[in-house]
Amino acid sequence: MSDVADTLRKLTIVFTEFEGRLEQTPLIRKLTRGRFELADYHAFLVQLRQQVKEGALWMSRAASNIDDQHLELRSLLMRHAVTEHRDFRLLEADYVASGGELSVIQSGEKNIGSEALSAWMYHQASQANPFGLLGAMWIIEGLGSIKAQEWGRRVKETLALPDEAVRFLLYHGENDVEHIEEFKSMLAMVLPDEAAAKRIVRTAEVTARLYALQIEEILQ
């Protein structure tokens, strides 16, 4: 049970569980039920920024721990990190365009979930050949390709914001199909390998739980 299809199946199950958990968080309930307020959006952006800012950094650290046998994967992680390491600026711009103060989002603090998620990511990235992080990428990039636009449209509609204030959510995510194709090729770089497959799925489970905790903590 360690080839690409089996692992992808387990990861899909983890993601759909995660989606169901997100749906129950107070913040997303307000969003889907049309009761979302500007303060909710701002609080959301502050936490997303923490995540996005750290994302490229733990990815870089993970890349530096990948050995010479997996150079292709190392290149890919480095490219990902380069593409994303300035994205938190987009969140800052959305925050300002929706009426927030730049200094507020820049000095925002991680909530308990964000702290836990970040600590977990760096811990994983510090291991030799941290292939488990592919599972974390599945969760976080899955959010980008599956949830971000859906949330962005709802935020824009509910708060009557212009596109410029919702750019990260609306335009950041790549489309589903490309996302899955690229991810399959990344899995194929380390699989089949039973231990790696197990680690990838477990890392996805923990990342999903901590990510949901971050969203839960936004409105407590």
Binding site: R9, K10, T12, E23, Q24, R33, I180
Partner: protein, 376 residues
């Protein structure tokens, strides 16, 4: 306690009222809301793939059959197929989305139409998944030795809800006479009919052994997705449902009609896929072992991404093994699975030893059911 017995489907039956109604005729048949052509009808039909359906209500509003009468006819047909009569039944489980009366339960009304003397009954009210809830009760009654012969049936009389008068003069229709999409789509999706099965402790030639019936609700995560009894805005506030305003005001507010949230449906579909893949992962469903796959959802309306996701995760059952009558008889809610199974059994395609997987997704509040059958 003695051991559980196996249960076998020994007869299937279906009933569809009146002549088939084509896509071109359906709006004329149901009636135009505020006299206008539907804005979403064609889109709904492209999406659901239905080309023909049946209605128990004529264009003039006259009714040919009640929901319970259709169910009784379907059970009667299933009994006949099994070589039995209503008096042989020990227990009848009946399912529907909305029965003929608000109370008593649907099974009482079906039993009244069917006859057969005193028997145990059980009513199941949900949306499409109510069919499998009833089937599970009927099967477990046989398995537990409570009864030797039981029946499960499911019926819908949706069209009576789709008359223009259900929408006109309510908040569901705007000043220009345009009906809300949440209400309009379902008018072009659901239709009438009933189906049923007879379950016995002993197999007969051509019987289907029930290997399992698994029903999974995700209602703790998802809000109502297809519902009646609350407005679009109030559907998540249990204290604001129809009874608060009373029947007349609730109708005016648009709280009585059947409604569907299509944005939420996309998320619910992903949740269904997740539950299905979990069954595959646990080895409960082995896609390669399935000979006939009955899903009351057209493969056509699943987005290409979902089909390719199922392929990527070794979860897809090849489309040539999918069997459906959705295009010909429409989406008959809870009755659909029995209409499909009845048609499959009569097609002569099922060979001894083959496995039939029935998948019943219910958007009502994110539920999905699976039934695995094995031909004897």
């Amino acid at each position: 306690m003695s051991e559980l017995r196996d249960g076998y489907i020994t007869g299937t039956g279906a009933f569809l009222p009146g002549a088939p109604v084509s896509n071109d005729q359906m709006e004329e048949h149901l009636g135009r809301v505020a006299g206008r052509d539907s804005l979403f009808g064609k889109k709904a039909l492209r999406w659901n793939g239905v080309e023909s359906r049946h209605y128990a209500m004529a264009p003039d509003g006259s009714v040919s059959h009640s929901n319970a009468q259709m169910c009784a006819l379907a059970v009667g047909a299933a009994l006949e197929r099994a070589g039995l009569a209503p008096r042989d039944l020990g227990m009848l489980a009946a399912a529907t989305t909305q029965g003929d009366l608000l109370a008593p339960g649907h099974a009482a009304q079906v039993h009244a139409e069917l006859g057969g003397g005193p028997m145990e009954i059980a009513s199941f009210q949900s949306v499409c998944g109510s069919s499998l809830m009833a089937a599970k009760a009927a099967w477990l009654n046989v398995r537990a030795g409570e009864h030797d012969v039981t029946a499960a049936c499911a019926g819908e009389f949706s069209s009576r809800w789709f008359r223009p008068s259900f929408y006109e003069g309510t908040a569901l229709v705007d000043a220009k006479g345009r009906i809300r999409a949440e209400a309009d789509f379902l008018r072009f999706t659901l239709s009438d009919g009933a189906g049923g099965v007879v379950i016995e402790a002993k197999p007969r030639p051509g019987a289907l052994k029930i290997n399992f019936i698994d029903i999974i609700s995700l209602a703790d995560r998802y809000d109502p997705c297809m519902w009646a009894g609350a407005t679009v805005e109030d559907r998540t506030d249990p204290l604001a449902f129809w009874a608060k305003a009373g029947p007349r005001a609730a109708h005016e507010a648009g709280a009585i009609a059947l409604l569907q949230d299509f944005e939420l449906l996309k998320r619910v579909i992903r949740a269904w896929v997740g539950v299905y893949l979990e069954k595959v992962d646990q080895g409960r469903i082995v896609p390669a072992d399935v000979d006939h796959c009955l899903v009351h959802y057209s493969a056509k309306s699943l987005r290409a991404e979902i089909v390719s996701l199922l392929e990527d995760t070794a979860g897809m059952i090849p489309q040539e093994k999918w069997f459906s009558v959705l295009r010909e008889v429409g989406n008959v809610g809870s009755a659909s699975i029995w209409l499909m199974l009845d048609r499959l059994m009569r097609s002569g395609q099922v060979k001894p030893g083959q496995k039939i997987l029935c998948v019943v997704p219910e958007s009502g509040r994110a539920l999905v059911g699976f039934m695995m059958l094995e031909a004897v």
